[in-house]
C-alpha cells in the first residue's frame, strides 16, 4: 500500500497584536484557494479566521498585545481544520452568538460570522490553554 500523500499543514505562532492580522489573512486566503474553494468562499474563510483571532485578542487577552496565539491549518480528506490555542481568559459561552442576527447593535457579529461560514465550531478548555477548532468541508465536484 503506497504511503498517503502529504497534506498541507500550516503552523504559526503570533502575538495577540492586531498588526499581525493582515499576515494571517494573507496566508489563509491563498491556502483556501489552493485547496479548491472559490473566491467567495476564500473570503468567507479568511473572515471567519480573522474574527476568531480578533475575539481572542479582545476577549481572551483584553487587547493586550503580548499574549501568544498558536494557529494550525490542517488539510484533511474532507476539507480544512483550523485550530487556535491561547493562554488568555476562557471564552464566556453565554456571549457566543448572544446578539440577535439582523439587529442594528454594533457588537457581537464575529461569532455569528464564524458559525455561518464554518461547518463545525468548538471551544474547549485544555491543559495547554483555550482551544478553538473550526472545520469546513470542501464540496467536491466531478
Amino acid at each position: 500500500m503506497p504511503p498517503a500523500a502529504p497534506r498541507l499543514h500550516l503552523k504559526l505562532a503570533m502575538p495577540s497584536d492586531p498588526r499581525y492580522l493582515p499576515v494571517v489573512r494573507g496566508a489563509i486566503g491563498p491556502l483556501a484557494a489552493a485547496m479548491g474553494w472559490d473566491e467567495s468562499d476564500c473570503l468567507s474563510i479568511t473572515l471567519a479566521l480573522d474574527e476568531a483571532l480578533a475575539n481572542l485578542i479582545r476577549h481572551a487577552y483584553h487587547s493586550r498585545v503580548d499574549g501568544r496565539i498558536e494557529l494550525e491549518c490542517r488539510e484533511n480528506a474532507d476539507g480544512l481544520e483550523i485550530t487556535l490555542l491561547d493562554n488568555g481568559d476562557a471564552p464566556d459561552r453565554t456571549k457566543i452568538c448572544a446578539r440577535a442576527v439582523a439587529c442594528d447593535q454594533p457588537g457581537g457579529l464575529g461569532t455569528h460570522i464564524i458559525k455561518d461560514v464554518m461547518d463545525t465550531v468548538s471551544y474547549q478548555a485544555t491543559p495547554e490553554g483555550n482551544r478553538f477548532v473550526a472545520t469546513k468541508r470542501l464540496k467536491k465536484t466531478i
Binding site: L21, P22, L43, S44, L47, D104, P106, L109, G110, D116
Partner: protein
C-alpha cells in the same frame, strides 16, 4: 469622504474617530468604500455606531461604492438593510 485599505480590529478605532469627528461639522456624510479591500466585523460595528450617531444628531450617513468583497461581508453580517447604500457618489449625494 473616501477611505482605503483594510478595515479590521487594528484600524477600525482610527476610522471610528475620523468619522465621528467629520460628522460633527457635516450635515451629511457620504462614505466611499470603493477602495476598501477588506472589512471585518469591527469595521461593520464602527459603521453602525456612526450611523446611530448620525441619527441622534439628525444628520445623514450614507455609503456608496461597495466592492463585491465588502458587499459579501455586509450580507454575512445581515446589515445591508440598516444602511442607505448607493452605487455611485452622485446617487449618494443626491439622496434625500
Amino acid at each position: 469622504m473616501e477611505i482605503e485599505g483594510d478595515v479590521d480590529l487594528g484600524t477600525s478605532p482610527d476610522l471610528r474617530r475620523t468619522l465621528f469627528e467629520t460628522l460633527v461639522d457635516a450635515p451629511k456624510l457620504a462614505l466611499n468604500l470603493a477602495a476598501i479591500r477588506y472589512i471585518d466585523s469591527s469595521g461593520i460595528a464602527t459603521l453602525i455606531e456612526v450611523l446611530k450617531d448620525s441619527q441622534r444628531r439628525k444628520k445623514e450617513f450614507v455609503l456608496f461604492g461597495l466592492s463585491p468583497a465588502v458587499q459579501q461581508v455586509f450580507h454575512l453580517t445581515h446589515v445591508m438593510r440598516i444602511f442607505q447604500v448607493f452605487q455611485t457618489e452622485e446617487e449618494a449625494l443626491g439622496s434625500a
